[in-house]
Every structure is written in C-alpha cells, then in structure tokens.
C-alpha cells in the first residue's frame, strides 16, 4: 500500500461547488474524513452523489472549492492521487472483448503493479472467478462483471476506495460476497466512501453516515450516535421524499390494467 502523508484528515473537501451550465450539482459541500473512516453517503436520485464521487476521484474538475485527498489536490496532482484511490462505479470500466485475466493485466500494467501475474491470481481467487479467468468479459453476468470490477479497482492496493452504488445489479449472493469483501477492506484500515440507496446496508458497513440532498450535504454523523430505526425516518424527513409508493395490483384485463397503472397509493 502506498505510504500516505501524515495529516489529520485523509479526505478534505472545502466549499466544493460543481455546476453544469447554470445548474448546480454540488453547493458548497464540506466533508472531512480521517484515515480508516467509512462513510455511507445517502441521497435521493439526482442529489449529486455520483457527481461528488467523480469530483473526489478527479474525473470532474470542481467549479469552486477544493478537494485534497491524502495531501494531493485533485486539480493538480491527479497522477499521484490515482495511485492511492480505487473506484467502483455503475460502469465496470472493463473491456468486453478481453478475458478477465487480460483486463486485470491491462489495468495492472497501467498501475505499474509489481509481480502482476501473482497479483492477478490472488485477486481472481478473492472475487471467486477462478473458473472464468480465461473467459471474455462479454460472456459474464452483471454480478460476475461487478466482482471483476472490484478486482480491477483494488489491483494496485489503494488506500482509499470510492464506491458508487456498488450493489447495483447484483443478486443476493453477489451482494453478500461484496459486503464481506468491503468489510475486509474496512478492517484493513482502508478509507471508504460508499453511496447507496439501501440505508440498512450502508449503515451496517460504515462508521459514518451522511445525507446529500439537492447538492447540499445536509447531515453527517457517526453511526455510533445514530439509532438505525430512526435514521430512515430522518432520511425521509430531511430529503422530503415520500414513502415508497405502493402500486395497486395490476388486473388481468388490459382496460383495467391501464387504469390501475396510473393510480398510485401511499401507505398510511
């Protein structure tokens, strides 16, 4: 693992603003995390979670404010920063026409990973894809691709992980495996920021929780101080989201089905 510079906070976000034209995706976000912290970032669709993750990992340039990660400013020290971060996102960033091993070999070479062949074997074993190591990624299911994406993201043993809804598209077994893997990373002392719509899963894994709404970080707290049962209510209250709509059961006849599809009722 790359030796990180000693400082109080490993992730420092000050007054971060990101605009797309006239639309503000992030409005003066301040966020500070220490080494080994694991932050679960929640928020409704369009809250700015993905934009925040992309700005933190330097895929987007901030409109204003600054992001310093392990002493590296994301605007000027991108290459050094990329050596210490790993990103798992909606997209797997894998080449479909390459095999699992070839994908890892490509990314391993890009990160100048030493003893790469051994590392690939170790990672393939870790994510449980031993039987598919020489299969093309295009033949993989979504869950298998996501497992390989995890291997890709950690091939250079990053100290910080950004996970943007990593459970998307995974089946129950895949979710459970990924959860175990993330627990392992957390126990290894890696700093993690995880965005998710699943409150319980996020709270289970992390030691801090934050809520982002309309580009504003409206809540951040240690999970030790949060009553999990109350958090859901707090989340719904702060984000102004209604309870999940329950759709009336669809009727067999197409005429009635159309009518019932448009009718949405909320549980009392």
């Amino acid at each position: 693992m790359v030796e990180l510079q000693k400082q109080e906070y490993i992730i420092e976000v000050r007054g971060l603003v990101k605009k797309f034209g006239f639309k503000s995706a992030l409005r003066k976000v301040d966020l500070f995390l220490k080494k080994g912290d694991c932050l679960a970032l929640f928020g409704p669709n369009g809250a700015g979670k993905t934009t925040l993750i992309q700005t933190l990992c330097s895929l987007m340039r901030p409109t204003a404010g600054e992001v310093v990660i392990a002493g590296f400013d994301t605007r000027y020290d991108r290459e050094a920063l990329h050596n210490i971060i790993g990103v798992i996102a909606h997209d797997t960033f894998l080449y479909d026409n390459l095999t699992a091993a070839e994908n890892l070999y490509f990314y391993g070479r890009m990160y100048h990973v030493k003893r790469l062949n051994e590392k690939i074997k170790e990672l393939i074993n870790l994510v449980g894809l031993n039987a598919y190591v020489n299969d093309q990624v295009q033949t993989f299911s979504r869950g298998m691709q996501q497992r390989l994406a995890v291997a890709r993201a950690i091939i250079h043993d990053p100290a910080i992980l950004f996970l943007d809804e990593p459970y998307t598209g995974l089946d129950q077994q895949g979710i459970e495996d990924l959860k175990q893997l993330l627990m392992k990373f957390r126990n290894q002392g890696k700093t993690i920021i995880l965005t998710s719509h699943d409150l319980s899963r996020g709270l289970e894994l992390c030691n801090q929780a934050a809520i982002l709404n309309a580009g504003v970080l409206i809540y951040q707290e240690d999970i030790a101080n949060i009553k999990k049962d109350d958090f859901k209510q707090l989340y719904l209250k702060l984000t102004g989201e209604k309870k999940w709509p329950v759709q009336a059961p669809l009727l067999a006849s197409s005429k009635n089905s159309r009518r019932s599809c448009g009718k949405i009722s909320y549980p009392s």
Binding site: Q54, C57, L59, M60, R61, R78, E79, A80, H82, N83, I85, V87, A89, D91, T92, F93, L94, Y95, D96, Y107, M110, Y111, H112, R152
Partner: protein, 198 residues
Amino acid sequence: MCLFAFLVLIIFSFAFGTGLKSFKGIIPGILWVAFIFSGLLGLSRSFGVERDKGTLPGLLLCPVSPWEIFLAKMIGTFIFTVIMEIFTLLVFTILYNQNFLPFLLPLGLVILLGTLGFSIIGTIFSAMSSTTSTRDVMLSILVFPIYVPVIIAAVKATGLILDGTSIQTIYAWLKILVAFDLVFLLLAYLTFGFIMEE
C-alpha cells in the same frame, strides 16, 4: 480501412482509367482521397471502444497523464493509418501501373508528415466527439476544415515529387506540414486534459 481504400481506387480506376492524358496530375488527388477517407474510418474507432464500453473513466483513473493517453491513441492511429497507406500504394501500383520506387523516400516523407498531422487532429477531435451520439458525422465535420492546409500541402508536394522535381522545390510544402504537425501537437499537449475532463 484497407478494404475501403481498395474500393476507392477501384472506383477511380473505372471513372478515369489510366489512358487519360493528364492522369499523372490526378494521382496525388486519388491517393490522398483514399488515404483520408479510409483513415477517417479508423479514426472514429480511436475512442470508440472507450465510448461504447464506458471504459474511458477507467483509463482516466489510471496514474497516467491525459497527454500520455493522447500519445498512445495518436501513435495507434498513426501506425494503422500508415499500414493502410502502404497497402493503398501497393494496390495503386498494380491497378494504375505506376512505379513509386524512384520517389519512395520523398514521397514517404510527405505521407508520414501528412499522416502525423491527420492522426494528431483526428485524435483530438475523436476524443471531443466520442461523447456525442453522432460521433462519425461530427468527426468528419470537425476534422476536414482543420485538415485542409495539410491536404493542400500534401497533395501539392506529392504532385511535385511525382513530376520528378528536386527536394528543394517541395521544401516549402514540407515546412507547412512540419509546422502544422508541431502546432497541433502543442495544442493537444495544452488542451487534451480539459478535453478528457469534459
């Protein structure tokens, strides 16, 4: 690319034949039309894989500078385009019964400089248009107007070389090609990071 170049040469072969009085005068035009149009096909693939498969962020997250990504893509485009051009010259030699061997060195220099400019501009605009839905159309619209000085210089220089004039005569055109390549290489160095971010 090679197949397209072959078809272009076949079409011109039927259109003009080799019995044309001023055939030698249109050789540079035929060659460069084949080079550029076939090259464009390859150019659109430069960032095509990254766009189609969504792997560009993965590439950008590697500890390499955007300039290194540009150079890698540009060199890849350059090599494939040169291979296509060698194939095109061979086919041209057979179809049109022309012997390029006496002019190989100066002609090769002009083709390499012209292709370098094409690869540089093409890679810049391929990256810019890779996020648009009308990537191929946009690429042609963006590349051609910028590439006009190179086309003029390369066609003129090729014509003069095939006429058997001395290297001094084409020196002015070579200078244009070199200057163009250097200016756009510098432009790519300064701007490619921003192009990749947005």
